[in-house]
Amino acid sequence: MNYFFGINDNLFKSEIQIPLFQNRNLKISNLKLFKTYPKNNKWVLKEITNKKINDFFFVLKNEDILSNEIFFLADETIVDKFDEYKLKNFNNFTDTSPAFRANFKIYLNQGGFSSYQSDYPYSMITKKGSILSSISSIANCDADKNYVLVKNIFEEPIEENFKAYLVNYKTKSIEEQFEIKTNYTNCIEISNKLIKPEIFLVTDRYLGVPMYVSEKNNFLSFEHTHPIHEYILSENKFVKVTNLKKEINEIIS
């Protein structure tokens, strides 16, 4: 099951298109759209109505989105099944190959826009861990501004601060650190002077999806990064990634 998300921020606006069909099967589903968000250590569930623009898509505009909300498709039995203390794998409609995706667009009032096909798989929600992402692999030092959005969704309705670091792999030192929070779409500004091959973004306790935004003259670029284990397709990929993460974690510990 996949969850979807957006961002509500002073810097840019967002829009999400959530399809009601699978990518290999155009049969339209009658599932409904729900959102949930953490409040006082409980998940609050709400149905989203009037956002279906046609048979095929729900579209959430900027005013329909908050950074602590997540969205998912489910039938009406969700109201009985929903556990306010833990997110569940409610249905398998979005378990597809290729992955079931929603178009997540950010835009500026001046006209620039950029999007990617996004999802947050349930399998990531149940795990703790750390993000490791190479800054210069996608940030753009020619841009006026660079940001990393870090979306974390954790199964428990906690709103807990944790740390993100910009780590120098060559000098084995921390260049900068940030407080970000769980169950939120966080936005970190990256100084252009830190867009170098040896700089990595690392988090200490929670996983998440890192997405890179750059802006220049009202043009935008927006793309998520691959999980680092996707560089290796052989069976030893998790050993290789664990070894690299160990090395980096020693820098932040």
């Binding site: 623009i53 995706r101 178009n103 996608i138 793309e223 290796i232």
Partner: protein, 258 residues
């Protein structure tokens, strides 16, 4: 008997039959070889219509295998699969980039594909089961504006990291019939123009249809198709035909994998 059937079902011919009759279809094949493998996506370069392309890639062999003296090779092809040039890059950083403009490609203003292969002579840190794949990031800039980035989208070719083997293809699998449909999960409304970039990552001819138009794409050829509709389904004999999307509005554009 059961294991013999299983073995046959996983041969290339078995997979072709499964895909043709939609019985447990297989999109992507395995790479089991007796050497360590470097896999490349089929990456799109554009120098047409004021475009230039930036390519960002990591030194995977250094980062994960601590191999310091590896190199990469880029193989550039035209949209008709003609080899344009091969470029070797030594002295890699952990993260690297280069720009592809028309001057770099002999003043060619067009589009096509390229591939990246990581090579090393270091046999101590690699074993024959290792497989690496650089999905990388591609930036597209039109009229010298900001590069907009998207990652690799289609596994294309592979070879040995020891650089002594042929380059192989057909990671993506096909069917005898045009019986596989992929619908892009995006509503193409409210744009001035939308383009889809297709690459055939196989050794077979791919037939596909969009908006009641039929297309044939020869092995390793690429094609840009302008679409008009709001909902796009692609019917083809390829099990993984996912185009890169370019959407335009005013002077701005967006690029992403589908």
């Amino acid at each position: 008997m059961k294991s013999l059937v299983k073995k046959l079902a996983n041969t290339n011919f078995g997979i072709l039959l499964r895909n043709s009759f939609n019985f447990k279809p297989v999109s992507l094949g395995l790479f089991e070889k007796n050497y360590p493998v470097t896999v490349s996506d089929a990456f799109l370069w554009r120098t047409d219509n004021g475009y230039k392309t930036k390519f960002k890639y990591s030194d995977i062999l250094n980062l994960f295998y601590k191999i310091k003296n590896s190199w990469v090779e880029f193989h550039f092809y035209s949209k008709n699969n003609k080899l344009i040039k091969i470029e070797k890059v030594n002295n890699l950083n952990l993260s690297n980039e280069f720009e592809i403009n028309s001057k770099y490609l002999n003043n060619l203003e067009d589009y096509g594909t390229f591939f990246i292969y990581h090579f090393s002579e270091n046999k101590n840190n690699l074993n024959n089961k290792d497989i690496i794949s650089n999905r990388c990031y591609l930036g597209y800039s039109q009229n010298n504006n900001l590069y907009s980035f998207a990652h690799g989208n289609t596994l294309g070719k592979f070879t040995s990291i020891f650089s002594k083997e042929n380059i192989l293809t057909d990671i993506v699998k096909t069917s005898l019939f045009q019986n596989h449909t992929y619908t892009i999960q995006k509503y193409f409304d409210n744009f001035d123009k939308n383009e889809l970039f297709f690459v055939n990552p196989t050794s077979k001819t791919i037939k596909f249809s969009i908006e009641n138009k039929n297309f044939k794409l020869k092995s390793n050829n690429s094609l840009l198709v302008e679409i008009k509709g709001s909902l796009i389904s692609i019917k083809s004999n390829c099990l993984f035909l996912r185009p890169t999307v370019f959407s335009y509005k005013g002077k701005y554009f967006d690029v992403h994998h589908s």
